[in-house]
Structures are given as C-alpha cells and as structure tokens.
Symmetry: C2
Subunit: 650 residues, 2 copies
C-alpha cells in the first residue's frame, strides 16, 4: 500500500491547492482498508461504536494525510494536532492512525477494548497520535482551544483540528469553547462536524434540534460545508478554512456506517458491532475476509501492548526567593498566591529555555488575585486568557494547555474550579494533565456569599481524582512556598485558599513558623506545637483556631499537640500514626467533616491498625450567609468548640 502514501506526499502540510483524482483514489483505497480494520476491531472486541467510526473515518484520513502530523514528528512541539471530541469513534481514528504508521495494526486491531491495552473504547492519550482522551461528549473543542492557546503563547504555529459528533452539538460547553476561540481570534483552529444526523435515540432533529450553522456563526465562526466522504470536497474545505483569518467549522455531511451497505444510516449500529453472517458480508464489501479476522482475533490472547504516554516533564522555571510575611502583615492566602505567581512569571519572562506560564480567568481576576499576573501580562497578552463566565470550557482548555509545553494556571472560586467543573477536572486527571488549579474562597470563609458559594468539598472532590495533589496552606507564608513549589511541579496540583486575612503562624519564639528555614514538602505534616495529652490535627484556615484552643487548654493544665496537614491527600499513614501516638485525636477543618481531613485520618489509622479515640470537627450542613466568624461559630468550628471537643475525649 506504500505507493498510495507516496502519491499523497504532495498534500502533506496542505501543500497543494487541490487533490488530484489519483490522490483522491489513493485516499479512498486507504479508507477502505481502515474501514475493514474498524469493523474487525469492534467485532473482535464484541463491543464498540462501528457506525460512528465509519462515519468519521474519511475525516480522520484526510487530516492524517494532509496535516503536519506524522509518526516521525508526533511529539514535536510545532506539529499539528487532532482532537477527536466524539471519542467513541475510536475504532475509526485508531484504524486510520495505524494505516498512517503511528502503530502496528496487528497491535491495535486485536487489542481494542481489551483490559490493560491502551486501545480503550474511547480515545486515550496512551495511543500514539491521540492528543487528548475524550469520551464524555462536549469537551473536545475546549481541548483544541487549549492547544491553540498554548501554540500561540509559544509561537509554534501548529494547527489544531477538532472532530466533533453532531449528537454532541447541544452540549453547552461547545458553545463556551467557540466563544473563547473567536474572542481570542484563534484562526489556527478548525472544527469538523461529522454530520450524519443520527444519535443513539434516533435522528438528531427529533431528539434535540440544534441549528448548528446559526449557532457557530453567532459565536463568530466561519461556517463551511462539505461532503464528508468526498476527499476532494474535504480537502477543498480544509484549504478554505485554513486561509481564513478566523476559526472555521466545516460541517461534513456523512452517513452513519458508511461503506457497509447494510449498516448505512442505521442507528442501531451506533453502539453495536457486526457479527455472524453479516460480519462476513461486511468484510467482503471492505475487501477483507474471515481468515484475516480469525488471525487478528487469535492475537488478542498475546501479550498486551504498552501505552506510549510518557511522564509530564518538570517545568523549567526559576521559582524565586520566598517572601516572608511577619506577624504584622495583613495578608490573605489568595493574595500570597497572587504575589508569588506574578513574581515567578515576571522573573522567568523572556529568559531562554524557561517554560511560559499561561493563566486562565473566569471574570474574577481581582478576587482570585490574578490581577498581578494580568498586569504583568499586558506585555504578552497571549499569556492571560479571560475566558468569561464559562468554567467548563476554561477547565478543559487550561487542562489541554497544561500538556502542551506551558505551565497552565487556572484560578477561580472553589465552587467553580472544582464543583462546577468536576467532570472536566476528572477528564483532565484521566489525561494526566498537570494543570495548576487555584481554588480560592474555599470553606465557610466566604461567609456572606452563603451556601451556594461556600466550597466545602474541595478535598473530597480532589480525593476522588486519581493522580491529583491538593494543598491547603495554613497561612500566607506557607501559601507563598506552596505556590512556588506548585509552579515547578510536573503533576496536577490544586491549591486551596480562603478569602480572608489569616494571621501569620508563629513559633513559640514569635518568629514565623513557615519562615526563612522552611521549604514546602508535599505530604509533610507540620508539627506546630508539641503536647502530650491530646492531638489537634487541623487543616488550612483552622490552624489558627487550633492554636487558640491549645492555649485555652494549656491554662487548664491540658497539654495539646497541634499538627497541621497542608497536604491532606499526601499524608503518610505511618507518619501520621507515629505523630499522633496514643493520645486522643481531634481533627478540625473548614470542610465537610465526613469527607475531608478527618475522614482521611480515620481511614489511614484504620488501615495502619493504629487505634486512637477521635472526634472530627467540620462542616455538617450547608452553611449560613454572614460574617465568616459568625458562620464558623454557628457551624461549631470556633476555638471554643475545638477546646470542648478535646475535653470531651479526655
């Protein structure tokens, strides 16, 4: 088949104005063999989505033929990128990727949807050529926007192609992503909609009508149309799109199940593979046969293929010198974060070899303390992205940017950064995206705004995402250190900070606890004070109240140890057990009592077989709206409440 590929070399990088008949024929020949492989994949697996795979297949094929993306350059920074938003068309995408040499079809075809194989049912980054794992619909365009923003920030000039299903067009997140793209004038991005008019429940016009061209147009995109199974039509539309100075969408007219006579236009094949006699017929129509099928099927019992994904590199950044806040400073943790971010961004800007920092805001820059960064970014506006009140698209775009050569920071109120965007953060985690999400105004500390704005589940939600760290600093000094550490980390980090000014924590000698000698170590449990009769284990905002309680108990002759867990998910169980010892334990947190620090401590100790009597203070209902101290007191989270809890255990 190599002659076909030779014939197509001329259109690589869109170098020709139009396809020759020979090129179109070569593409069609390649597509036929890919269709055969896609059908075999799903039939060997006994599950999958052959209908959509065949519908999208020519779109994948024209992109792999003409984009600046090959097996040889697939990790080059300046490559073009393809994002498949409708990840269930995986069999189509995989078969075309293998035809273009990204991996061996003898590896992909038999191992599709095989436990332990990277060829998952929905496209995943473990497969070469897949830039972003999708599957939950509506997120792909946002990822493409993130890639395009990173490309622009780095001056790389790559193009981004996003393929989408028609059934997912109603997802609101797509509209959000469209608006970021058009506001940012991202002409490097091209969307291609696989418009076969069929979704699971029937024709899209019946299930949920969407005026696709009007909506994309109203959001500032140029709308083109083409025949999604004609290579000359597809190539022509792509050429027109790439020549325009604004983002373009190409509505590609397609047929569900294209290429197999009895599958075409049949919604049942959305999620059902072909089997039995029909399989024989399908393979015959596609130039294959059952012998090849059986050969492939036998390979399913061979060794598992390995995924190609490598670890995220550590950012190259000078993290600067610590800022030491003293007892006289009135500083909120969010402000300490903002100052550290602006400082690190400024000191690395323009230094060769350093990783650029790109920050995303959702209309809250002054509150989430991105304002300093925004001011810095006036000299490089491509580094500060105002995404508007569109948290779903912002979360995914920032996540995709974070795997693309920049340090991506998204700061937002906790309720938006992790509650509203939970599933976007979940997909970011699945994609192992090293996004730095700064959750501000967490806990009851955002008092007056009331229960809708009180993020009291930030640890619970981060805990439910594998591979994510969360840091909840106790004061501005620890925030400064944690923020700098975060920016240099290769992985995903949430930094959770409240709204109000927090007292600088001091040693018994009156100097800052997190002072000159301190450096942040993820997972470390801070021993703020020693004591023998009981332990208070506090998190973030509550450290100050814990120290107050210790003082009150000391007056009564009760000696209390105060520990602080800035890394609730990173604590080592045996270190915790050793620190706690045999004395009773009171945990306290500005977070739900059932799902945060106390729950983690209980599970750690239970697994370690280390038994101490314990009480867990935290949020036990949706909160009030009022002064933060009043709200905390009404929730039973004052220093007095901690004091009482310790006494009750003694």
């Amino acid at each position: 088949m190599s002659s076909f590929f030779d014939e197509l070399a001329g259109i690589r990088n869109f170098n020709e104005d139009r396809l020759t008949d020979g090129q179109a024929a070569a593409l069609a020949r390649i597509a036929k063999s890919c269709r055969r492989d896609a059908v075999m994949m799903t039939s060997i697996a006994g599950s999958g989505h052959p209908g959509g795979a065949l519908s999208s297949l020519d779109i994948y094929n024209i992109l792999l033929a003409s984009a600046n993306l090959t097996p040889a350059n697939r990790t080059d920074p300046g490559r073009d990128r393809i994002v498949a938003s409708h990840g269930h068309t995986s069999a189509g995408f995989y078969s075309v990727l293998s035809a273009w040499g990204f991996f061996d079809r003898d590896e992909a075809v038999p191992n599709f949807r095989r436990a332990g194989s990277p060829y998952q049912g929905h496209v995943e980054r473990g497969v070469p050529g897949v830039e972003w794992g999708t599957g939950n619909l509506g997120q792909g365009l946002s990822a493409g926007v993130g890639f395009a923003l990173a490309d622009r920030a780095l001056g790389r000039g790559g193009r981004v192609f996003v393929t989408l299903g028609d059934g997912e067009q109603p997802k609101g997140q797509i509209a959000e992503a469209r608006r970021i793209a058009s506001k940012e004038k991202l002409s490097s991005i091209t969307a291609l909609i696989d418009y076969n008019h069929i979704q699971i429940s029937g024709r899209i016009e019946d299930v949920m009508p969407v005026n696709i061209p009007a909506l994309w147009s109203a959001d500032g995109w140029e709308v083109l149309e083409c025949d999604g199974h004609s290579y000359s039509s597809l190539y022509g539309a792509l050429k027109r799109a790439l020549a325009l100075p604004l983002p373009c969408v190409i509505i590609c007219g397609t047929v569900m199940g294209k290429g197999v006579s009895f599958m075409e236009g049949i919604e049942d094949y959305h999620g059902k593979p072909v089997s039995g006699e029909l399989l024989t017929q399908a393979l015959l129509e596609l130039g294959g046969d059952m012998t090849e099928f059986e050969r492939m099927r036998a390979l399913r019992f061979g060794p598992l293929p390995k995924e190609s994904l490598t670890d995220n590199p550590a950012p190259s950044l000078d993290l600067g010198a610590a800022v030491i806040y003293t007892a006289h400073d009135k500083k909120d943790n969010r402000g300490a974060f903002g100052a550290a971010l602006a400082n690190v961004a400024e000191r690395n800007f323009g230094v060769p070899g350093r990783t650029p920092i790109i920050a995303f805001d959702c209309d809250l820059a002054a509150s989430v303390k991105l304002d300093g960064f925004a001011k810095f970014a006036q000299k490089c506006p491509e580094l500060f992205i105002q995404a508007g009140i569109q948290e779903h698209a912002a979360a995914t775009a920032a996540g995709a940017a974070s795997v693309s050569g920049v340090v991506a920071v998204w700061a937002d109120f906790g309720v938006f950064g992790i509650d509203e965007a939970y599933n976007q953060q979940r997909l970011n985690a699945i994609n192992r995206a090293p996004l730095k999400t700064v959750l501000t105004h967490v806990g009851l500390d955002v008092g007056e705004d009331g229960m809708t704005h009180q993020c009291i589940d930030y640890v619970a939600l981060a805990r439910a995402l594998f591979g994510c760290k969360i840091v909840v600093p106790a004061d501005p000094n620890q925030t400064d250190r944690a923020a700098r550490w975060m920016l240099g980390e290769p992985g995903s980090v949430f930094l959770a900070v409240g709204r109000n000014v927090l007292p600088v924590l001091l040693k018994e000698d009156g100097t800052p606890f997190f002072g000159a000698g301190y450096s942040f170590r993820y997972g470390e449990i801070d021993r703020l004070r020693s004591g023998d009769d009981a332990t208070i284990l506090a998190m973030g905002h509550m450290a100050g109240a814990a120290l107050k309680a210790r003082k009150a108990l000391g007056v009564k002759g009760i000696s209390v140890q105060v520990l602080h867990a800035s890394s609730p998910l990173g604590m080592d169980a045996s270190e915790l057990a050793a620190l706690v010892g045999d004395a009773p334990l009171v945990t306290c947190e500005d977070h739900e009592a059932d799902t945060g620090l106390g729950a983690i401590a209980a599970l750690h100790l239970a697994r370690a077989g280390h038994f101490v009597r314990m009480k867990t203070l935290g949020v036990t209902r949706f909160g009030d709206s009022g002064n933060s101290n009043d709200v905390m007191a009404r929730m039973g989270l004052s220093a007095d409440d901690i004091t009482s809890a310790v006494e009750a255990l003694l």
Copy 2:
C-alpha cells in the same frame, strides 16, 4: 403606600392591555422605596451586590405587580413563578418582595447576610416568593424550564418568569435550557435579561462578547427588547411575550446602580456596598435618611427570622407489588429499575389524587432502561422529557420539577448524572429538591467503555451533598424494592446500578434473599451470611463476589460473615459496630477504595471508638477498557482477591 398598590390591582394577572400613567408612576414610587431598602440592606450587611440589585429592581417590580403571584397565593399550585437566575441581585428581589407583602421589611432589611437568617447573600428558597435558590450562574433558566414542564404535566397553566444577568449569558447551560424550552414549545416561559453591559471585570463586550439576540433566536426563542427601567415598556414587552406561541426572551436595557447618581454605570458597585458620606447621599436621593438606616441597623441584633421553607410532601403513589426475580432470571439491576418505574407509573396514571411521575432522559433511554416508561408515556408525552445530550440543563430542570408537585426521575449513566452534573446536583441539594436520580452503568461494570465512562465516585460525590441518600442495590430483587421505595420517598435519592446481569442473591435454602418477605429499609445493613472469623462488608455489585469468597474460605475452615450495605450513607455507626464485632473486616466495593464504603466504615468505627483490623478493597486507579470481569480482576476485585484479603488479616 397602600394606595399605590390599589391603583395597580388592575394589572394583576396581566389583565390590562397597557399601563396608565398613574400605574407607571405608582410603580416608580414603589421602586424608589425598594431601591432605598436594597441600598440599606447591603450597607447594613457591609457586603453584597447593590449595583445589580438596582439594575434588576424594576424587572422584579413589574413582575410582582402583574404576575399571578401574591403573598396569598404563593403556595398555590397554579401560581406564576419567578426565578432569579442571577441570585446575587438578592437585595433587589428581597426589597421588592417585601414591598409586595411577602414579608416584613423590618425583618429582611436588617437581616440580610446575617448568619442564620434566611435572607442569604444569594437568593434561597427559605425566603417567601423565592422559588429556586441560585447564585452559581447559568442555572436559573433550567430551573424555569423544570417548573414549566411540571406546570404542563399537571395542567396548571402557571407562567414562569426567569430573570437573568447579562454576564452569565456565556454559560453553556443557558443554551441547553433554551433548547429544551423551544423543543418542548414552552410558551409559558419568559426570560428577562438585565442587560446593563457590566460584569465584574468590566464591560461584557470586552470580557466575553456574546451575541445575545442571535443565540436566543437560533435556539428558537422570540427575542424582544425593552427599556428595563420604563414600566410601560416592560409591561408592553411582557404582554407581547405572553401572547406569542413560543418561549420569549426580553432583553431589558438597564443601568448598573440605577437610581443613585454616583453608582450608575460604575462596575465597582457590582460587589461593593455604599458607606460613609456616600451612603447618606444615596439614601437622600432615594427618599430615605440615616435615621431610618440606624433604626434598621439596630434590628440586626434582634432575634433571627425564620425561614419559610417546609418539608417536601411525600408523593401520593401506589407503589405496587414487589416483583420477585428467581435464580433463573437473567436480569440487570437497571432493567429491574426500569420495570418497577414503568409499573408504578402505569398503575397510578389517571388515578385522581396521585402524583404524576415525570422522567428525564439524555439520549440514553434504552441503556438506562427508561424505554418502558417512554412507551407508557406515549399516551401522555408531557411526562417523558427527551433533553438530548444536555446533562447540566437536564439536572437542574429535573431538580426544579421535583419541588413542583411531580415525582421527577432523571436516569443517566453515572458519569453524566453525578460527575458531569455535580454542581447542578449540589444546587439541587441546596434547594432540598427531592429529585430521584438513577445512576446507571456505575463502577467498573461498564468495562469496555473504559475509564471516561466508569463512574467510580458515585458514593463519594453523593456523600459530599447534604441531605441526599444513595442506594446501591445488590441484585435485581433489591433494586425492584429500592426503586419502588424511592418513588414514594419525600427526599432526594440517588439509585446506583451497574450495567451487567447480576445473579439473584439467595439464602442458604436457595430462595431469594430479597424475596417475598423483604421490604427495603433505608440504612439497613443486610446480613447475607453469618460467620465468626471475619466480616466481609460488600456494596452492590460486589455482594456476589463476597459470597464466592466466603465459600472458598469456608472450604479452608474459615467462617466468614457477609454483610451488604445498600445504603452506604445511611448506615448506623453503632449498628455497624455491633454487626462487625471484634473480628477483622474487609470492605469491598466497585468504587474508589478511598472514598466509598470502606472510608465510611472506617470513619463510623473510629467515631464509635470501635477498633477492628480492616482492609479496604476497591478501585485504586482509573480503570481499564475491556470485559468487565477482566477489568475487575485487574483492579484486584475478584472473589480470589477478597479471599486473600481476609486471609491476610487472620
């Protein structure tokens, strides 16, 4: 002021064609005093959003003057409803509600944003006249759609008015809600956009441009415009909107801070109250004075007002007879749910006094087993809502419907029903909405679809929502009973079921464990088998594997008790401790090991001071894509793994 209200009686229920000059003047006089109150509220609280409150105030006032909504009928089923989507304009809405007699201004003005008061910073259902608590932007229109759908299902004929901010227009969920409304031809719903062009970060055209009329029009809405501070213009637009046979949006031109000279058009007053000399001036301009202000401020130290919200009533439904599945039946739990739902719906349909059941689908009816209900609903199409792939809007609409006289059921894959819509479910919980969410395909049981589709955090997320129950049945019999129980419950319930056929659990005598004598009791721990040496505590899907492990251990002479927790959030700690006793405990779940049943058990036992050695088996990373049994085995969740875990503890 009562004469003004008398003069306005004629426009109640939109009974006049247009306003008289006298009526417009009366409304303006009322508005002036409301503006005074709104400014006082925020200034007494020392926080809040006066700018938007003054901008929206005339919109609230015309609605309260002309809608079929008064203090006397505010709980009548047939009333009109107002939803404030931009909940931060609370001071405006509260002041107008108090002017129209919904509560005493001496109660509301001083207690705004006071801890423990219902007059929260963002509108909440505890305040008379507030139909839906909002604050996280973008959700209000979906709530309005839910009310309109419930009105239609009940034939009540009420109108729904939704006020929205301009800054929230980019939120994707609004577009989703628009499409449900226009597909369902909900002409009873009217949206009013407070279009003052200002959001927190500046002019909306700069922060995130949105072509508001084009987008609403493309989604099938009639677009009208009016002067949002002219009562004749507002009333005229409302009259036009209500006469049209499709949903209408009225774009109301407004001015941020309207009515106070120095506040008008100043973005700083979005979130900052007036104080000092400026407060004196503002009150003067609004016909108030500092004496009244001080009188109100003094009331802030009086008794806290009470919220008006009452408990959700129990649905009136005949829950039918249990279906007993036997060992020969091949049934999946989702199918057992679907059959029970269709059965209960059918048997209550048309019976006077029964509560209608309305079900929401997001393009997955056949998979989530709503197909039986959909078939039943062919005779009453207003009971089955196909919301398309728009989970955010569906979640909120279903939530709002659930507080409005119907039993609302939303069935979706777990990853969509609770991961994608987590924040919508959080607002539903804040609104104490008794939604029944059926989460299907939970756990690793959706094997081949891979990690994006494996909902492994359903207990963790439900646990983070106060007031919500979650039920994870062990087999089709328990599912049938739990589904019927759920439909009769007055509160919020998640029902979590996997994809695959599950064996019917049997007693040692071979009869169904959850057989004829069984009725579901929320919180009950099922003792499937007794034993002395160790306890296995399983959840849902894992019960079968736990019984297999017990058998294997029995052969080795180890006697194991098997417990099943269908209500992981409802277990009683002391009951658990008593059942477990002193023997070692192994928990097993098709859910994250750190955040589900095992974590709950550890916390319960730690709080109870009941110490046993324990191991927690569960999901410890994002899962593979493949045959469910293979995926489970690779995760260490086979019967053999349970066996080994028990042995390791002995």
